[in-house]
Symmetry: C2
Subunit: 260 residues, 2 copies
Amino acid sequence: MKSKLNIIIIGSGNVANQLAIAFFEKKCNILQIVGRNKKEVTALAKKVKSKASFDFKSIDKFADIYVIAVKDDAIELLASKLKLGNALVVHTSGAVNASVLKKCSKNYGVFYPLQTISKDKKTKFKKVPICIEANNTFAIETLKKAATIISNKVQIISSEQRKIIHLAAVFACNFTNYMYAVSEKILKENKLSFDLLHTLITETAEKATHCSPSKNQTGPAIREDKKTMQAHLLLLKKDKPLQEMYKLLSTAIIKIKNNK
Amino acid sequence: MKSKLNIIIIGSGNVANQLAIAFFEKKCNILQIVGRNKKEVTALAKKVKSKASFDFKSIDKFADIYVIAVKDDAIELLASKLKLGNALVVHTSGAVNASVLKKCSKNYGVFYPLQTISKDKKTKFKKVPICIEANNTFAIETLKKAATIISNKVQIISSEQRKIIHLAAVFACNFTNYMYAVSEKILKENKLSFDLLHTLITETAEKATHCSPSKNQTGPAIREDKKTMQAHLLLLKKDKPLQEMYKLLSTAIIKIKNNK
């Protein structure tokens, strides 16, 4: 494959932004940014020296890969409006079947970066697993080469596997972030700074990448330290849903221990 | 204060080990390791070139600080057995009142390192908040100087505040680790490697230390992406408690959004 890959990005959200920038920095041509949000599309197009298009009819026909990076629910409808013939089209979702792209091209697949991606924090894709999938060998080879441009961790993953990975990621990322948000709220309500927990949060995450978290559970629940758990429930007495959550999570942790 | 602080550590578990080693490396004298588990006490005493004692009666009377690092439930009983007169005695627990140490000395306090501590992973205390508390000004000054030997983040914290911090830490560390354990289990059951999530876990934690997690929630729940949440619940259908937990957590996340 020529190193100057020609890419069209459809969408202007978090994933669209970070992927466009990552490919642009690796000397790929971002031919077009396509989307309805004029302000965002224009801003992104400027960043990656590309054309901005606000209309799917004006889409360029000569890209190597078309990347649909829009929210899950919008992918299928968008695909039905695009007619790209034999061009290679991918979406970037963890939860949507590759086959919804059948409607717009004969060559389709998935390019799913397994990371929490924000617009305002640059994603370092080098260590991010890119889960790729396609409906034929040529397409998978093209995607593998494209993914390798930005990441060292490219994996061929089926739609079924990707959905499992996405579910696991909801626990490891979204639900984990919710736990951080709860601890932030508890501290704030008591005029204490969330900064106090930064070192703990970093170390907890680091440990999980060195040792199995199921073998590394610490805290009052795994020790079955009933006195401390009772004291915590008392502190949460004004927030019944949170108190219930504390009980449910502690019970689940005690269960891990007893199942061992 | 003379730099060669004389310390006695009571206990031989995770916290006892890491604190003894940290003070030893900063040239403090660890006079004694005291505890009932002969094997562990002997091993730790050897590491920090100290005496090993298996009997509370043989405790040395000339230390600057006595650090009780045993599990929460054992602190009070242990304190009632120790008679240390005016010596400065502290425990290291996030959840236990300082006043349980009244029984063993007139000068007592707390030396609570806000970190998840394991025996087999060296704790870098430099960035770890050490929450100190004492029953008089002299004791607090002594503890402040001692804590500053190993950490740059020493904070004077009351028993009430410490309990709040400990509760918040249960969410940010113990419950978070449980989320990691669940994602590991989901992947394993589907013959996928937990390594896939390492980069995501690290980035999620890093983001929380740069930006408020309540403002940074991502995932299907905060987007109210019902199709994806339904698909996830279906994947969890064989594990009813986990399915319930997914629902509860997603509902709580949606509530954050609507309260904004």
